[in-house]
Amino acid sequence: MTLWRQIKNTLFTALCSGSVLFLAATLMIFLLPMLWKGSKAVFFRKTVEFDKMQKELFKRGHAEDLERRTAQTNQARQEALALLEHFSRGIDTALLSREVRSAYQQLGRHLRYLEVSDDEYARLREQAKDIRDAFLQALETTDKAEAESLLDTVDAQQTNPRFQNSPFEVVFSLSKQYRQILQEIDLSRRPEYAAELDIVKTEMRNLFGPLPGESIPPLPQDRFGATRWDVAQRHLQYLIYQTKWVPSGKDDKRLIPKQIRRDDPEEGIFGKTELAPLFSMVEQNLAAMLQPRPTIYWRYFLDDSTAGHYFGGVGPEVLGTLLLTVLSMCFAVPLGVLSAAYLVEYAAGGITTRIIRTCINTLAGVPSIVYGLFGLAFFVLLAGNPSILSASMTLALLVLPVIIRASEEAIRAVPQSYKEASLALGAGKFRTFLTVTLPAAGPGILTGIILSLSRAAGETAPILFAGAVALGPIPDIGLHLKWLFQPTRALSYGCYDITVGDRLAMQVPHNQFGMVMTLILLVLLLNLAAVLLRWRMSKKLQGL
């Protein structure tokens, strides 16, 4: 019996300690991955593309150094890109046919320039047209023998002196090229090749930016290759491996995905083609092609972001959050501290005080989304449009009870003897409060203010409709105070938007986690400051 009671007691103690350990573990499970993944927004290996992006979008970096590195990497990439271009000519018949057509047109112009007779002109045009059509047909057919015989008819005209030294000559060299390509690829699989080649090209663009000969894309995110080494590694995997659905071993009905290399000699789609060396070439030389270097991108916390949140940092969000929180403190702190003063020094325990206290508790218990509703209904519908002012006033209401409670506690903690000494010297009640109690309670009140700053910085629901936007201009702060009436970006709303709302941001998880990390760090720093302040205060009190 006693043993059983002992066991129960030990079990209980273990459970109690276990639950606290569970809490600590939860905190770690939450904090570590978030901070670790977020830190990748600041600490990472940048590539030469990153420097190009910084130069073009943010106007920073050494121009000469960048030029040198660009030249080096371009040289390293040259072979692979040339290979890709050569191969895509065979698959992408649109390119070849365009060239043939243009050669035909140029021939016309050439003949007019030579001033041949009209008869001769018509005859040559007719001949050239036949050649062109034969070539185009050869490009379109999927039968190898037919294509070769068509190319033979093209090549038969090669000796025609009229076509020699004319723009039409290029057709024959194209025909030679295409003949070579015909040896290498299986014509019947050309649509398949074309689809895969598109993927390869997209991944090459993702790695190295626009391919040679392409125009500069309008969207910033398409203008640069992989700016980070980890992103480059990811795209390398996409480039090299294709997913094939193969029957699983046990029952043939179910298909399972299998990763195979695109240049695999047996199964890979480009295994037996001329393109095969590209993959190992990129795989082995990727470092030379991109020149990764470790970097600390501390400007992440200050930079504006371009193209949604694709490049750049969280500067506008940090600024917006600071504006919102500081402004809300401007409203809430005087109100809160004076209310606390009244509650401690003046309020008698009557029905009025009880009502006031109930209201403060109610204010603390109102769900944050209802603050959002109220912010919309009151501040926004009254003021006209969502703005920094309405958002910060909503936040001020939200943190008011926090400040009142913290200040009340701090004021109550001031020893009675201080007040009595002041009162005995003839100071009035309010004077005593302002000159003696308030300075003595200062650190405690400051702790409360810091904690409510962190609360205000993290709240999202109240500002959803009152003045937070996902993307927008940075408020230009100045004495003209117009910025008060603009909406702003904020870290908290940004965190929501970047993880759930923003499609483009899904491609840049480091930026998603980076923003969350910024918010968590801000809140943790504020809390750390509060803890330190409290610790110093308690040491001081012990010293007294």
Binding site: F12, C16, F30, G458, A461, T499
Partner: protein, 327 residues
């Protein structure tokens, strides 16, 4: 100023009889009255804020019930008994929030089922088992847990927990009632712990000592004596935790999946639900102002507000009971 002179001045001032003129008296009385009433007005701002919140939410919710096409009673019945929430339907919009209220209850109750036992045990640890030093370490830890913004928890739920649930447990969707409840329980725990710990500490030392003197173990003392004695404070803790969970927006919006349904075997937490807060947050940004849908969202907000207000009064009642001296 010489020391001798100032001393003599001070002596002169103190020897003067302390008698105020009528004007001095009046002005100081007036001043102190002014200060007091100024402070009262400032303090009354909180009361005004609560009133304003109620007034404005009610004012925006009223048109929903007082719409001319449907009688208020019908509207009210539909609002609370229908499961069908189709406010955007062109011809026959339907405004039934039963499924939404059920969603709120699902995540709240489930999160409390996790948070209350754990929180209570942790509170016992902090109040009765931990040494002073351990407590010094644990307290900031719990404060940090409380301070982490809800949107950060939401991101964690979407980006870390949801894929994990989907991959390792095999749920069809990772954003579901269970995910939201897990995160909510973590968020409600700090509140529960701190209030419950206060309640446990408020139970007098003599009571514990009497129990130990009778030969009871710690487990028996806590479970049979201290916790029953602190029951009102613990109830307040549970209610405050519940308020936190019911009112939480970002986490449930991001993690609960937002499907307007009551899970069909009622215990199936792997299905998506939608809560009142998430409905408001998700839809208010997109509806044109002044439409019935817009006002219906304020009506949901009003339900939420009244519910939390009642819970708040209840918790206050329990806290008052706790603070009543028992010794």
């Amino acid at each position: 100023m010489t020391t001798a002179g100032s001393q003599s001045d001070a002596a002169v001032q103190f020897t003067r009889p302390l008698r105020l003129t009528f004007r001095d008296d009046l002005s100081s009385t007036l001043l102190s009255w002014l200060v007091k009433s100024f402070l009262f007005v400032v303090t009354f701002c909180s009361v005004a804020a609560v009133l304003l919140i109620f007034v404005f939410v009610i004012r925006q919710a009223a048109p929903f019930f007082a719409e001319s096409r449907v009688s208020p009673l019908e509207r009210l019945t539909e609002f609370f008994t229908s499961r069908r929430w189709f406010p955007e339907h062109q011809a026959h919009p339907e405004y039934g929030i039963l499924a939404i209220i059920a969603g709120s209850f699902y995540v709240t109750i489930t999160s409390l089922l996790i948070a209350v036992p754990t929180g209570l045990l942790a509170a016992v640890f902090l109040s009765d088992i931990a040494s002073f030093r351990t407590r010094q370490i644990c307290k900031p830890l719990i404060e940090i847990l409380a301070a982490i913004p809800s949107v950060a928890y939401g991101v964690f739920a979407v980006m870390v927990v949801a894929p994990w649930l989907q991959k390792n447990i095999g749920f069809p969707t990772g954003t579901n009632a269970l995910n939201a409840s897990l995160i909510l329980s973590v968020m409600a725990m700090p509140t529960i712990i701190s209030v419950a710990e206060d309640a446990l500490s408020a139970v007098g030392r003599e009571i514990r000592e009497a129990s130990y003197a009778l030969g009871a173990t710690r487990a028996e003392t806590m479970l049979r004596i201290v916790i029953p004695a602190a029951h009102s404070g613990i109830l307040a803790a549970v209610i405050l935790g519940m308020m936190r969970a019911v009112g939480e927006t970002m986490v449930v919006w991001m993690a609960s999946g937002n499907a307007t349904q009551i899970p069909s075997p009622w215990w199936d937490l792997s299905q998506s639900v939608r809560t009142m807060t998430a409905t408001i947050a998700g839809e208010l940004g997109e509806v044109p102002q002044g439409t019935t849908h817009f006002h219906s969202l304020f009506a949901i907000g009003l339900v939420l507000l009244i519910f939390t207000f009642c819970l708040n009064l209840l918790s206050e009642h329990f806290i008052m009971q706790m603070k009543k001296p028992k010794r």
